[in-house]
């Protein structure tokens, strides 16, 4: 709980609900007849509406990217390190828009919403939405806000994929595309982890083929397992050693203990939690299972699996970028093993081949995939420098 608000915080914020009546055709061929998007904005839109920045959320990210909803909040929004007055995405100059995507579970229309056709909640009937569908819905949000062109569209991981899609589908509406910890499409290994996550959810006896609410239950155990496996892929080996090797650091032993700190100081010789890392994963999984919806999780992982903008261009990503008119900044992180630097470099290579203006940074960071959410100094500095230029361009 913040006793008082930090000076570089956007402060107390409230989400807004935007309702859309125009049906949204989906890539699958299905249609969402009408829908709501939950949105937060920070900063002021300038007179010529040129200073707007869209934040595309990652898998579990929602509209609450910065600030606090109340003084009782324990934590600020998910990207508060980057968004605020004087921060890299400087709300003294930019009008920042953040949303909960369709299919999510933080207030936008999703599996937990009422299906107008049946009068009951969607559950597993909610159509599979893709990155392309999300970006189409975000474009309608831009129309509603009066934003013809974003000064920048920014996102990491699944959010970075939305940024890529923006640059391809709406070339004239993006000035700068900033993609962090991103890949042009998932590898078999990435999909495999997602499938383990999905199987743990759908295999939970409380899942009830996605209609768990009708039974007054949630597939807590399955969702917890899904998050645990996901979390392992977000951290790096080095980050885990650091995080769970504190005891060693304190007593300054010469050898590393590889992050094998014990929870109770000794082995139990049973099958309960022995190591801190286990306890941490349990905690993360449990907390997530209390706040995230299982059907939404399934949808998000499918959106990841299906993402591949090269499919419409004979598998040649550089052709997908042919019409893109923005400048690109891509950032990768050395210990990210979910989307390692080589995966991000595939996009850089495609952009170079397409003759686009692109900058690329390969950041040394121990934090793994999660690094893009954390205040890694070198990365924060580069974002600040880059966005300062954007600020000058749009004169805000």
């Amino acid at each position: 709980m913040p006793e008082f608000l930090p000076v570089d915080s956007v402060g107390i914020v409230s989400p807004q609900r935007f309702h859309f009546d125009e049906p949204l055709p989906l890539r699958s061929g299905k249609v969402i007849k009408s829908y709501d998007l939950m949105v937060e904005t920070y900063g002021e839109l300038n007179a010529d509406k040129s200073n707007a920045i869209l934040i595309c959320p990652a898998l579990s990210g929602d509209h609450h990217a910065a600030g606090y909803h109340s003084m009782a909040d324990k934590k600020p929004g998910w990207w508060d390190v980057c968004i605020g007055p004087g921060k890299p995405i400087d709300t003294n100059h930019f009008f920042v828009v953040s949303l909960n995507n369709l299919g999510g579970c933080a207030g936008s229309t999703g599996p937990g919403s009422i299906n107008p056709d049946t009068g009951t909640w969607y559950g597993p009937e909610f159509p599979v939405v893709t990155v392309r569908d999300w970006v189409n819905s975000q474009a309608r949000l831009a129309d509603r806000l009066g934003v013809q062109q974003w000064a920048a569209v920014i996102g990491g991981s699944l959010g970075g994929m939305q940024v890529m899609r923006w640059s391809i589908s709406y070339p004239e509406r993006v000035r700068h595309a900033i993609m962090l910890a991103v890949a042009p499409k998932l590898s078999a290994q990435n999909i495999a982890f997602n499938e383990v996550a999905r199987q743990s959810i759908t295999g939970d006896p409380d899942f009830h083929a996605g209609r768990y609410r009708d039974y007054g239950t949630i597939p807590k155990k399955g969702l917890m397992l899904a998050r645990m496996v996901g979390h392992i892929t977000y951290l790096s080996d080095s980050a885990m050693r650091e995080k769970f090797g504190k005891a060693t650091q304190e007593i300054k032993e010469a050898s590393l203990n590889l992050g094998r700190d014990l929870r109770a100081g000794k082995l139990s010789f049973g099958f309960d939690v022995d190591f801190q890392v286990e306890s941490y994963l349990h905690y993360q999984g449990e907390r997530f299972s209390e706040t995230f919806d299982a059907n939404s999780y399934l949808l998000m992982t499918k959106a990841l699996d299906y993402f591949d903008p090269s499919v419409d261009y004979d598998g040649d990503l550089s052709k997908a970028f042919a019409k893109s008119d923005c400048r690109f900044l891509l950032v990768s992180y050395s210990t990210d093993w979910r989307f390692p630097p080589e995966r991000t470099q595939e996009i850089v290579t495609a952009l170079l081949k397409a003759g686009k203006q692109v900058s690329y940074l390969d950041i040394e960071a121990d934090e793994g995939h999660d690094a893009f959410l954390l205040p890694v100094p070198r990365y924060m500095q580069a974002m600040t420098t880059y966005l300062n230029r954007v600020k000058q361009e749009v004169a805000c």
């Binding site: 081949k353 003759g355 692109v358 390969d362 070198r378 230029r389």
Partner: protein, 202 residues
């Protein structure tokens, strides 16, 4: 502006696409953008220098040239530049080949090790030359592949590289008739503009 940039910019066509290998703080690309309307991209590995590029609005790719330039398409740039870096490369010959593949024409500058001062330093002191211009000891120098003007001339001939222009200057990048008369002995910096076949489309 840097004197070597003054010489180089004359060889850059307005509006052309320029790749600067080891672009440093991006000042050459910024100058070319502002005065020749070029579209440029730099390669750099140093974090501070990359930041300086971003600050100027110069596009920069963080990439180690020693690991190759496979990610660049053939003939995708008009001019590929390499200023004061050739001697620090692991495989200068392969790098020059890659430059010729990527660019229609290339510009390389390097310190001339055949200069009389270097020769005299070794001849009279019996030690590897250390100067204000090249202030490193033999064990910590990044410059691992020094060459002379004569060496590079031979190299271009052996590799069928057409030298479009060769400029030789002192360490203040001043040109003079006496340096031109004895380039390998008197010049401190050599600046080559070259291509392969069809004279770089000039």
């Amino acid at each position: 502006m840097r004197a070597d940039l003054e010489i180089i910019q004359k060889w850059i066509k307005p509006g052309s696409r320029v790749l600067d290998l080891g672009c440093g703080d991006g000042s050459l690309l910024a100058y070319l953008r502002d005065n020749k309307q070029t579209i440029g991209i730099g390669l750099e590995i140093d974090n501070q220098k990359i930041d300086a590029c971003l600050d100027k609005g110069i596009d920069v790719i963080q990439q180690d040239m020693n690991k190759g330039l496979d990610n660049f398409e053939s003939h995708s740039f008009d001019t590929v530049l390499l200023t004061q870096t050739l001697q620090a490369m692991h495989y200068p010959d392969l790098l020059v080949e890659e430059m010729l593949r990527i660019g229609k024409n290339c510009i390389v500058t390097f310190p001339n090790f055949g200069n009389w001062k270097s020769r005299a330093y070794i001849a009279f002191k019996g030690r590897m030359p250390v100067s204000d211009f090249m202030p490193y000891q033999w064990y910590d120098t990044p410059n691992i592949h020094f060459c002379t003007v004569r060496d590079f001339d031979d190299f271009c001939r052996d590799k069928n590289i057409d030298v479009i222009t060769r400029t030789v200057v002192d360490n203040k990048h001043r040109d003079s008739a006496i340096i031109r008369a004895f380039p390998n002995l008197l010049s401190e910096i050599a600046i080559y503009h070259f291509a392969r076949g069809q004279q770089g489309g000039q």
